[in-house]
């Protein structure tokens, strides 16, 4: 069997599509056959959800769904796959929770709906009464060995809890007095969930970050891994959706998003949102979607530790900017949650800008560099900038940007 260190290194270096099928699955299969480990019993409960995470898990390439069901997990309850109806189905859930108390893993998809005492999300009929999702969740969670919240709704409330949150949705960890492992994403990438599960089965609890996300997959800033990072450093920004440059200026949330999409990519393709010429919308972060909206608008003014900067103006004034330092700032402040608070306060909902007037544009052009922001003078450049840069950088580009 792989050591934990080897497994972590596999997850970091390759996509699971390669590693799980060729190494991990065989490994796991052998261990299960030899009774070294037991197939984990899983109860999968859907609350306020769009079912997107189940569909995403259906998209797993390796293991395939067939291998997953037959070799890796013992999925006792999931109403998308079950044959029997109504109480015949929910009895299985109750029975499993009783039989496997302290052993089973509870997977929750979707937000916990609290409006009207939770009755906006009834999921079962027991003893002549409708039963709410939140009450079933609390019952099962008290008996589960581990609770995994899959998808951003289960982890943090997600889109179900978007302002003004009519259904009073919250994340699973907000209603439970126990450890919850969050594997957010909208939807959660199948590798993120299965890799977490694999770690849990073989090595126990994976290392978690402040938001209880496994660092294995959510440990690095997306911005630092992006294929288009070079464009960012050089100040080559997209003017419109569909441009093949850095998406920062049209709303990319990569600089404050912790996920490995640029390396992992989606659905067995070489594609992911930025690869598709659209901004990352930060779907794995707490507060999504509100803190990411409007999706196609640059960051609002950020109160960064030490100074207040409008990233737009900073970038403009600095010309070819090394915003890398700023990225690091963002990372550091995320850890302290300071930025989160500022973002939440300033980002919802914003007025999309109308086209800028000539006077406004002039004002922006003459803006001085905020104190403490990197300046062009600090950029060490050994070669002249390629022609492309000189075309992309100047005013005309900016003007179109503001029409966004």
């Amino acid at each position: 069997m792989l050591t934990r260190r080897e497994f972590i290194s596999l997850c970091a270096k390759t996509t699971m599509a390669v590693s799980l099928s060729e190494v991990l699955l065989a490994d796991l299969d052998k261990a299960i056959t030899a009774k070294e480990i037991k197939k984990p019993t899983i109860i999968w409960l859907e609350l306020g959800s769009c079912t997107g995470n189940t569909i995403s898990l259906d998209n797993t390439a390796s293991p395939s769904v067939k291998e997953l069901f037959s070799k890796v997990i013992d999925l006792r309850f999931h109403w998308i796959f079950m044959n029997v109806e109504g109480s015949n189905a929910t009895n299985v859930m109750r029975q499993t929770a009783k039989e496997k108390a302290g052993e089973f893993i509870l997977v929750i998809e979707g937000s916990v709906v609290l409006a009207d005492g939770g009755t906006w999300d009834n999921i079962a009929y027991e003893n002549g009464k409708l039963v709410t999702g939140v009450s079933v969740l609390k019952d099962l969670a008290s008996q589960a060995k581990q609770v995994i919240a899959i998808g951003s709704c289960a982890a943090f409330g997600g889109p179900s809890a978007a302002h003004p949150n009519p259904s009073k949705s919250v994340g699973v960890q907000d209603v439970l007095d126990r450890q919850v492992i969050n594997t957010p994403g909208c939807p959660c990438h199948p590798d993120w969930f299965l890799g977490t599960l694999y770690h849990l089965i073989n090595y126990g609890l994976p290392e978690l970050d402040t938001y209880n996300r496994p660092k294995l997959f959510y440990g690095r800033l997306l911005h630092d891994q992006c294929q288009r990072r070079t464009y960012f450093e050089k100040g080559i920004f997209a003017q419109n959706l569909g441009d093949p440059w850095c998406m920062f200026t049209i709303g990319c949330r990569g600089p404050r998003t912790y996920a490995d999409c640029p390396n992992r990519e989606w659905n067995g393709t070489d594609n992911w949102p930025v690869g598709c010429n659209t901004p990352c919308i930060g779907c794995v972060e707490p507060g999504f979607p509100d803190v990411s909206m409007p999706f196609f608008q640059r960051y609002p003014d950020l109160k960064l530790p030490g100074f207040t900067a409008n990233l737009d103006k900073a970038a403009l004034a600095a010309g070819i900017v090394t915003l890398g330092g700023l990225g690091a700032h963002l990372g550091a402040s995320l850890a302290t949650r300071r930025l989160r608070k500022n973002l939440t306060e300033t980002s919802l909902p914003l007025t999309p800008p109308g086209p800028h007037t000539e006077a406004q544009l002039e004002g922006i052009r003459t803006e001085t560099v905020p104190e403490g922001a990197p300046t062009q003078a600090k950029v060490v450049r050994t070669e002249p900038a390629p022609a492309l840069l000189q075309v992309r950088r100047p005013r005309k580009a900016r003007r179109t940007l503001h029409k966004q």
Binding site: W79, N83, A115, P187, G268
Partner: protein
Amino acid sequence: METRTIIPLTRIHQPLKLELDLESDLVTDCRSSGTMFRGFELMLEGRDPRDAAYLTQRICGICSTAHGMVAALAVEDACKVEITRNAALMRNLIYGADVLQNHLRHFYVLALPDYITSPKTPPFEPQSSYDKRFTKAENDKLVESLWQAIETSRLAHQMLAIYGGKAPHQHGIVPGGTSMAPDADRSNRFRGLLKIVLEFVNEHLLPDVELLATKYNDYFKLGRGPGNFLSYGMFPQKGSLNPKYPAGAYLDGKLSDLDISLVSEDISHSWFNGPSVQEKPAEALALPDKQKPGGYTWLKAPRYDNQVMEMGPLGRMWLSGEYRNGTSAMDRLVTRTLEAKKVAQWMLEWLDELVPGQPTFTPFDIPDSGSGIGLTEAMRGSLGHWVKIENHKIAHYQIITPTAWLFSPKDKAGRRGAVDHSVVGTRVGDKENFSEVGRIVRSFDPCFSCSGHLIRPQGDIEEFRIC
């Protein structure tokens, strides 16, 4: 008479509650109910109109692209944007991939287990042995198809991600067109996957449904719908042809053009309160009220010219004149699989028509004010988004989903929704697991993530309906 309550009806996206009134083994009334509600309508209020194309996809994980598509159409209508022909083709390809994914998953994962003996392991166990008619060899073949179908639907989503970034909740369809222009390399990969999917449809899906239809031919008589059909049209091709699937209505045996102003909604038995029981989508003022007496579902009751309408693959093929065999549960399953083949073949044509390198995105400004309607056929029926823009922001947004049409409660005139209508009159041989009812209900491809909706007024209208 006895009343039985079934919740959750499984193998449906999100819980469905059924209340059945039974006289001995005859269903005399059926009240289907959506029991989960999130209220996406309100969430759109005050946001950037372009965001609707991404946020509304979160309503539903299996038909997300349909919402993205309709939201983009609605915003483009409001902003007076013309997208390029190349963009329209790209959208059809992205959306077509999701349609194929949906049809495969629906038939094999959700519907077929009602008829076969599934593998005897969880999550398929326990299972009912009631009325299983396949021989062991046939059954084994169908189970093998089921596993292959899951793999093939994964490939359909892979196809979607080639031009859409990821799936579900793709990024490629945006107001103004699509974000990726076609190139030869991607189109070739797309075509390769499409051919695998088409081969599966030809070699497995069509023979499998034929076998099913032969063994269970009594289901051509069960679960008959109201007989009225509606379609908003599907796969528009701006710049040249009309939609591949025509829009229209089939009412009381007569075919007519679609008149969107005839769509209204009734809230007599929904958990909503408003000044009027029946409202036009763009002017609806109802608010959610879970305690409302007489309410039993989060779904409203959309009506066309006050009539109950059915929709989906059967409705589309009925309106296009390709299929007029009947309106039963089996007809729905058969047309869904026939449609999968049609769509895959169209997609091959669209791939040939794409012009590599030609732009697919048209930049535009959001006007100070405007209003627009986006209409398309989602996988399971007619989906419409109504948007109103004020001060560059969304002032009002509303969605009417196919699930609301199909699973609508009774209206003020006492007319049942299409699903309830088709279940009433069924004889239940299996009171343990209600197999007959489950088979009929699932033939509609229900999706209850898409069911709740919410409207709010206050001068200007704020409204949104969940897919």
